[in-house]
């Protein structure tokens, strides 16, 4: 880690967003992760995304569990709400927070250990419920904090720094999310911010569970020859299928997109995602097709990235439950609580 804080001095022509803030205003403390960690690039991408979306810092909640990845929320939006929860329990804590105040924007940052091993039960149920959040997995295939053992996302045949290659099937968060009915599924790479930033913006604005699985190399324990999650390997087998442009509500969509190449998807808040297919065969609105395609490419050793699946029609958890529009945290006790008589009436209904 660095001994000095990032100097407050800035580029004089640094852009300001509609709130008059610069990207510097969305920073946190200087990272204590290893120099060159992919997670730091993901942090920078998140900063860019929340800046671009003009999110007021006090309307953002940063949620995490345990692990290198889960330290990330300390490194951005230091003026926002944050909760660094128990290992693997970030989805539950976020569920609770979201139920209490549906007006905040929730961004959960987790890792392959936090989400696919200890927290896999929490992860899958948050998806099932279509909890309205942006869920980022910083996926590096190893447990960095405990010195580089393989995690549940390590590919078969991937070599560790020392010892034998992995022989167990990996859990692919993207396929898992698709099978559970996630409504926004994306994969990207920490080394490609041009792709990653719009994907995070779309995920933050999407209503429902939005998964962004980010290959984020562990520069210390998993960036060597033979690793399938290194910078070099990811770049070599990177397969880009759908590009994404995020268009805020006020702006008009350029009509220049050709049919079949570009596909506008309007989100609930009036903003639009414009999907541009890099691979013409791919259909990001068909779960079955996405499955098939991902499996085929996976068998060829390719890493498929981009916005892989979107269904903006699925109702998020609050709507499924028929909750009121106002945040529960703002309701009077009398409104929230049925009272003794009311409770009696409800219980009597079961008699």
């Amino acid at each position: 880690m660095s001994y000095i804080a990032k100097p407050k001095v800035t580029h004089p022509s640094l852009k300001r967003n509609r709130l008059g803030l610069t990207t510097r205003d969305y920073e946190g403390t200087v990272s204590t992760l290893c120099a060159g960690c992919g997670h730091d690039s993901v942090t920078a991408a998140i900063i860019q995304a929340v800046f671009d979306l003009d999110i007021e810092p006090h309307m953002l909640a940063k949620m995490s569990g345990i692990g290198c990845s889960s330290k990330t929320p300390a490194y951005f939006a230091s003026q926002s709400h944050g909760f660094n929860s128990v290992h693997g329990r970030m989805p539950s804590v976020t569920t609770g927070a979201n139920m209490a105040n549906r007006e905040l924007t929730y961004i959960g940052v987790s890792g392959d250990g936090d989400s696919l091993s200890i927290g896999v039960g929490q992860f899958v149920h948050a998806i099932r419920r279509n909890l309205n959040m942006c869920y980022i997995i910083e996926n590096n295939g190893v447990y960095g904090l405990t010195k580089g053992q393989f995690s549940a996302s390590a590919d078969i045949g991937s070599r560790p720094k020392k010892g034998l290659p992995n022989q167990q099937e990996p859990i692919d968060p993207v396929s898992t999310a698709l099978s559970l009915g996630a409504s926004y599924v994306a994969r990207s790479f920490s080394g490609d911010k041009a792709q990653l930033v719009p994907l995070i913006k779309g995920a933050l604005r999407h209503s429902g569970f939005a998964l962004v699985d980010v290959i984020s190399p562990c520069v210390t324990f998993n960036d060597h020859e033979g690793s399938t999650k290194s910078y070099a390997h990811t770049r070599q087998f990177y397969h880009h299928v759908v590009d994404l442009d995020y268009v805020p509500p006020a702006e008009e969509i350029r009509a220049a997109y050709d049919d079949g190449e570009a596909m506008p998807v309007e989100l609930h808040d009036g903003s639009t995602l414009v999907l541009r297919k890099v691979d013409q065969e791919y259909d990001p609105t068909s779960r079955a097709a996405a499955f098939k395609y991902l499996r085929q490419r996976f068998n060829e050793g390719e890493i498929v990235t981009g916005l892989l699946y979107i269904d903006d029609e699925r109702r998020e958890m609050h709507d499924l439950m028929g909750n009121v529009d106002r945040p529960l945290s703002e309701l009077e006790l009398g409104t929230l609580h049925p009272g003794k008589a009311g409770l009696r009436k409800i219980l009597d209904g079961y008699n």
Partner: protein, 604 residues
């Protein structure tokens, strides 16, 4: 763009904006670091190597380094480079034992230097230690030239001049005072010198030929008047004084007038503010002393009543400024008369060479200046060299010093029959500053402190005597804070493309958005595609070789880098390193060393 050639010493030299802007290329960040460590004598010697007169220049240098200072681009005020130089001079110990000495055994070459000002003294400083027999001819009764006669004592005390000039004269220099050269031809023909250097300055003040000019004794020419004050031939002036012109000489004239009894001093400027020739800090100092600066007044005539100067008539001007901020047209809109007792003309100065015969092979241009080669400082007659104001018209002390160093090299080569155009090139050393994981051998943290203010003698006290030096020099605390403002621009961010894994860590951490990894393109194209637009085209773009994984390039906009080392700290592979660039400037002594090496051991 092609990969940047950082082996060319000029590339990193330009990044050190202050050193690049300094005509003598003083290693500013290095001496500031030495001050920070309390090594004042070392800081003084570091200065002296290039600028010869740290104590003098620490007070009165024209400071081309400060407008160039990178700090001005990230915040408003530059580092107080000049004032820190004075800190080194004020706090040094006795350094006489560290000065170059003239050898007992001379090399048999005789050099005449005409004028005992900064240019000639620099030549003497460079040549005397090599064994040259150096003679300085000075028409006045004292040394220093315009430094002594034109800069008032309350800005530059004579003791400072005497000490630093003394260091040079002590190198067996033969000083002939009260010895004007009336004929260069005679000196060349009969003097017995191997080379002659002319460092006589620009000693003639410009005149203003308007009605009434010769009808009163109370109309003075600025530099002549300042000289008379310096020699104590003049010790008083009228109550109401008008200074014509608004350059640095005008500033010295108005402030000197206040010390000789003037109560109401006005500096009359023809143009509006922003078009003045005086340095900002000299203007500030004059205005602090309640000198009134009157703009848009163009002199028309002197008012003489009963043989006495009573005032001056001015045209009140109006100017049209064009799109580039230049004056397009001016016209007189009114006429006013302003009463006064004395007028001082400070509207510029010219070279004057009545003592150089025009038939001895020295060519003069249309402005009656000698034709001098800018590299070698030699005029059209072999063996005759010029430097300082006498070479290319009025500049300043630091330029004269730079000329002196170059002339000394030429004189050395000329006296030894070498080609004076074949000079040693500049060199550069790069040294890593890494001490540990994230430790550097310099203070890399950015200190947001503002520029320290120079303490001055109280306004009530300072006019009591013309000898009272107004600037007191930085206190120890001030110096300690000011040194931390230096951005260490000489500690370069050195990039090794083949080590880069394109993890973006350096780009993400850079506080001033200097770095980008992108596809290569032309410079104009690249400048628009960076993390932040690179609009300052005077500052270079660094472009790396193709990166191993994607073939893209690392681009660094040098403009706003604060040299905080975070790119190198966050780099996992050591592709970025912080390395100090030391620019190696060749002097006459290096040329002498080079010839010795070339001629081999047999010549020794």
């Amino acid at each position: 763009m092609k990969p940047t050639d950082t082996a060319n010493p000029d590339y990193y030299h330009k990044v050190v904006d202050c050193q690049w802007a300094c005509p003598a290329h003083t290693d500013v960040p290095e001496y500031i670091r030495l001050i920070a460590q309390g090594r004042f004598s070392d800081a003084y010697m570091e200065n002296r190597e290039s600028n010869v007169f740290p104590g003098i220049l620490g007070r009165v240098c024209d400071r081309p380094c400060e407008p160039a200072c990178r700090r001005r681009r990230v915040e408003e005020k530059p580092v107080a480079i000049c004032r820190l130089k004075r800190v080194a001079a004020d706090h040094r110990d006795d350094i006489t034992h560290r000065l170059p000495k003239a050898p007992q055994e001379k090399n048999g070459k005789k050099v005449a230097l005409i004028g005992a000002g900064c240019a000639s003294l620099t030549v003497a400083n460079d040549l005397a230690p090599l064994g040259y027999e150096v003679t300085i001819f000075e028409s006045l009764s004292t040394t220093g030239g315009l430094m002594r006669t034109n800069i008032p004592r309350f800005r530059l005390p004579p003791a400072v001049l005497d000490e630093e000039i003394g260091y040079i004269l002590d190198m067996d220099v033969d000083l002939k005072l009260n010895h004007p050269i009336d004929s260069l031809k005679e000196l060349l023909d009969d003097g017995g010198f191997d080379a002659v250097f002319v460092g006589t300055g620009a000693p003639r003040g410009k005149n203003l030929e308007i009605p009434g000019r010769y009808d009163s004794a109370n109309i003075h020419i600025g530099i002549e008047w300042l000289e008379s004050v310096a020699f104590e031939h003049i010790d008083s002036i009228g109550e109401k004084v008008l200074i014509i012109g608004v350059g640095n000489t005008a500033m010295d004239c108005c402030r000197t007038s206040l010390r000789l009894g003037a109560k109401d001093v006005k500096v009359m400027a023809r143009k509006p503010r922003g078009f003045f020739k005086a340095s900002d800090w000299e203007l500030e100092d004059a205005e602090e002393e309640n000198v009134e600066i009157v703009v848009n007044h163009s002199p028309r005539s002197f008012v003489i009543e009963e043989g006495r100067l009573t005032g001056m008539v001015f045209d009140v001007m109006e100017y049209e400024i064009d799109g580039q901020g230049r004056i397009d047209r001016g016209r007189a809109v009114d006429q006013v008369s302003i009463p006064c007792d004395d007028v001082i003309l400070a509207i510029g100065q010219d070279n004057a060479f009545p003592w150089i015969e025009r038939d001895i092979g020295i060519e003069f241009d249309d402005w009656d200046c000698p034709v001098v080669d800018e590299t070698t400082m030699m005029c059209t007659r072999e063996g005759v060299f010029f430097g300082g104001d006498s070479a290319f018209g009025p500049k300043n002390i630091i330029w004269a010093v730079a000329h002196g160093h170059e002339a000394a090299i030429s004189i050395h080569k000329y006296c030894h029959g070498e080609d004076i155009r074949e000079r040693l090139p500049r060199g550069m050393n790069l040294t890593s500053q890494k001490m540990g994981m994230h430790e550097w051998s310099f203070s890399n943290d950015y200190d947001p402190a503002g520029r320290r203010l120079m303490p001055h003698v109280d306004l009530k006290e300072r006019f009591k005597n013309i000898d009272i030096e107004v600037e007191l020099g930085f206190t120890a605390e001030q110096a300690q804070q000011e040194v931390e403002r230096c951005l260490n621009c000489d500690i370069q961010t050195v990039f090794t493309a083949k080590l880069c894994i394109e993890c973006d860590a350096c780009i993400d951490i850079c506080p001033t958005n200097c770095l980008t990894i992108t596809h290569n393109g032309t410079e104009t194209d690249l400048r628009t595609r960076l993390s932040a637009p690179a609009e300052n085209t005077e500052q270079a773009l660094y472009v790396s070789a193709g990166l191993p994984q994607t073939g893209r390039v690392m681009v660094k906009d040098e403009d706003l880098c604060v040299h905080c080392s975070l790119c190198a700290e966050r780099c996992p592979t050591g592709a970025w390193d912080m390395q100090k660039s030391t620019i190696l400037l060749p002097y006459a002594a290096d040329e002498a060393e080079e010839s010795r090496c070339k001629s081999g051991p047999s010549a020794a």
